[in-house]
Every structure is written in structure tokens, then in C-alpha cells.
């Protein structure tokens, strides 16, 4: 399953227009503590969070995550969006809360470790 597939099937908003979404999503991780994601996120994971600080982009790069989905209708901070564009980190969003989004992702075959 690629980000394109997931975005289409779950109606995710794409904040980073122009960044390819063809990368396969290998798994998922949900956390709002960036230190936790640094510790437990895996390469190719789609990260579900409500943190919008620019540091989320650095964590996604560090862990080679497939992308980030911001929940609860949160918009990325301006600098976060700039950094995501610069680092080519796909940044998506949904009005859904984390619990609901993760449930739907799981139903589509995106699993945790």
C-alpha cells in the first residue's frame, strides 16, 4: 500500500503538494512524544500524531519514515511545512482523531510492529 492509495481511500489531505506519494507504507506508529518515535519508529512507517512542531520533520528524516499524518484537523506550523517540502517528507492530514484513523489504517493492512 502506498501513500497515494491510503490518501485516496481515507480521504487524507495532502499538505506537501509536489512530493511523491508513491513510497510503500511498511507499517504504522502513533505517538505524540517525539522521543518515543525516535526510540520506536521504524523505517517505512506512517506516523500518526497531533504534534505540528517543525521537529516532526527531522524525526521523520532521522527514522526514514514513509510520511506523517496530522490528526484532529491540525494544520502544520508554517516552518514545519517549509521543512517538510525541503526534506521531501510527505505531510498529510485528517479531521479524524488518532484512534479512528489508526483503526482505519489497520483495517487497510497497515500494522504496527
Amino acid at each position: 500500500m502506498t501513500l497515494t492509495d491510503l490518501a485516496a481511500r481515507l480521504g487524507l489531505r495532502v499538505f506537501t503538494a509536489g512530493i511523491p506519494l508513491d513510497r510503500p507504507v511498511l507499517g504504522g506508529y502513533a505517538s505524540d512524544l517525539l522521543s518515543d518515535v525516535i526510540g520506536h519508529g521504524r523505517k517505512g512507517d506512517l506516523w500518526v500524531t497531533m504534534q505540528v512542531h517543525p521537529n516532526i520533520v527531522a524525526v521523520a528524516v532521522l527514522k526514514d519514515l514513509a510520511g506523517i499524518v496530522l490528526v484532529n484537523g491540525r494544520d502544520p506550523a508554517a516552518e514545519t511545512l517549509e521543512q517538510a517540502a525541503r526534506e521531501k517528507v510527505p505531510l498529510l492530514g485528517t479531521e479524524l482523531a488518532a484512534f479512528e484513523l489508526v483503526g482505519r489504517l489497520y483495517g487497510l493492512g497497515v500494522k504496527g510492529s
Binding site: 517525539l34 522521543s35 504534534q51 512542531h53 527531522a58 506550523a77
Partner: protein, 225 residues
């Protein structure tokens, strides 16, 4: 933590300088300043501000600073969620003689809408020093919440909790260079006052001197504890 108990305990354990840093409010600082008057204990008004990322940032101010506008700005950015009465009753506002004069009606343990950058800018805008709190803790620490200290965040220092020494924190979490590392008690009970301290080599216990010590300027400095 009544003002007189705080002052008595601080003096009993030999402190020269303390700061009053309630969560998201400076409302009780004046009472402690007054309670300490004439005792030889210096008191800085302050705050432990909760950012939108749930990072705790310490703001320390000059005792003469007018903090009304600062506090108004904090309250404007602290979501006014209805709080339970039992919490409100814990959020007393007191005078220097320990009398309860009111209650802070806001949910003070909540997060403000300020990003860490906005929180630091607000503190600086009112002449304060901004310090990232208890960076070694698993919650409400800039490291736990944001993974690392964002580049360009103009903190004056980072603080470690009493659980470990500055040297241990540098080993476990990184050097924090070029930021100085201080260690404070984060006391929530009188008996915790003084359980961790930091020595500042300064001419007087004022905010300007502390600023110089943190910057390592003019012969002022911090001795890591």
C-alpha cells in the same frame, strides 16, 4: 506551599535565592516576595509555562517587573476549559501572611496555545530568562516532547531534575552545548525545597547577574551541580 513556609524552609536549608514558578501563573509570586522581605532571602517571580507541545518552560523575571500584561497574555492563551471544583480549590491565591485571598479559576495544569518558540519569545519580551525544565524527565520535557532542542530556540539554559547530576544528564542526554545546565529542586512540597540547587557566582542575586552567570560573562558563572 504557603509563602511563609516556603521562605522559612528556604532559609533553613541555607538558600540565598529562590524563584516562585507556579504552573502557568505568576499570581502568587508577589506574596512570597513580600514574605521574604527583610529575611535576606532573595526571590525572583517566575512561571512554569506549558507550551502547546506540552513542554515546560521556566520564565524567571526581575522582582520589579510588572507582570500583569504577561499574565493576561498567558490567560488569553490558556484554553478556558471548565475545571472541576476540587482542582480550583487547590489553586489558591494567597497573601504574604498565608491568607487565602482567592482562587485561580483557570485550569492551570493545562497547556497554553503557545509553541515553545512563542513561549520563549513571550518570556523574553517581558525581560525574562527562559529555561527548558527538567529535560531528563519522561514527560513535559523538551526532549521527551520534541525529541531534541529545536535549532534557533533562544533558551538561556536547560534544567535537570534532582534525580541526576548535571554530569549524568550530559552523559545521558547529550552535551546541550552551548547552553549552560542548571539543576533546581522543582519543589512541589516544602520539604523538597533545596533538594537540588545550583551555585551562581554573582555580585548580587538579581536577574541581570543571573543572566550574566548563565552566559558566563564578566566573571559571573554557574558551578554545575
Amino acid at each position: 506551599m504557603s509563602p511563609r513556609a516556603v521562605v522559612d524552609r528556604a532559609r533553613a536549608v541555607g538558600l540565598d535565592l529562590i524563584a516562585v514558578t507556579d504552573h502557568n501563573t505568576t499570581e502568587n509570586a508577589t506574596a512570597v516576595l513580600e514574605a521574604a522581605r527583610g529575611t535576606g532571602l532573595a526571590v525572583l517571580p517566575g512561571i512554569e509555562l506549558t507550551s502547546a507541545e506540552e513542554v515546560h518552560i521556566l520564565g524567571l523575571f526581575d522582582p520589579a517587573a510588572e507582570l500583569g500584561a504577561f499574565q493576561d497574555e498567558v490567560f488569553r492563551n490558556l484554553p478556558d476549559v471548565p475545571s472541576k471544583r476540587k482542582f480550583i480549590e487547590d489553586q489558591v491565591i494567597v497573601d504574604a501572611a498565608d491568607y487565602v485571598t482567592g482562587f485561580s479559576p483557570r485550569c492551570l495544569f493545562g497547556a497554553t496555545l503557545f509553541s515553545v518558540h512563542d513561549a520563549v519569545a513571550l518570556i523574553h519580551g517581558h525581560g525574562g530568562l527562559a529555561i527548558a525544565c527538567h529535560v531528563d524527565r519522561d514527560s513535559f520535557s523538551i526532549i521527551s516532547q520534541l525529541g531534541f532542542i529545536p535549532p534557533g530556540l533562544s533558551l538561556e539554559a536547560v534544567e535537570v531534575s534532582p534525580r541526576l547530576t548535571v554530569a549524568e544528564a550530559r552523559t545521558a542526554l547529550g552535551p546541550f552545548d552551548p547552553l549552560p545546565v542548571v539543576r533546581f529542586s522543582d519543589a512541589h512540597k516544602p520539604e523538597e525545597i533545596g533538594c537540588a540547587t545550583t551555585d551562581f557566582i554573582v555580585a548580587s542575586p538579581g536577574i541581570g547577574e543571573i543572566r550574566l552567570a548563565l552566559a558566563g560573562q564578566d566573571g559571573r558563572r554557574v558551578i554545575p551541580s
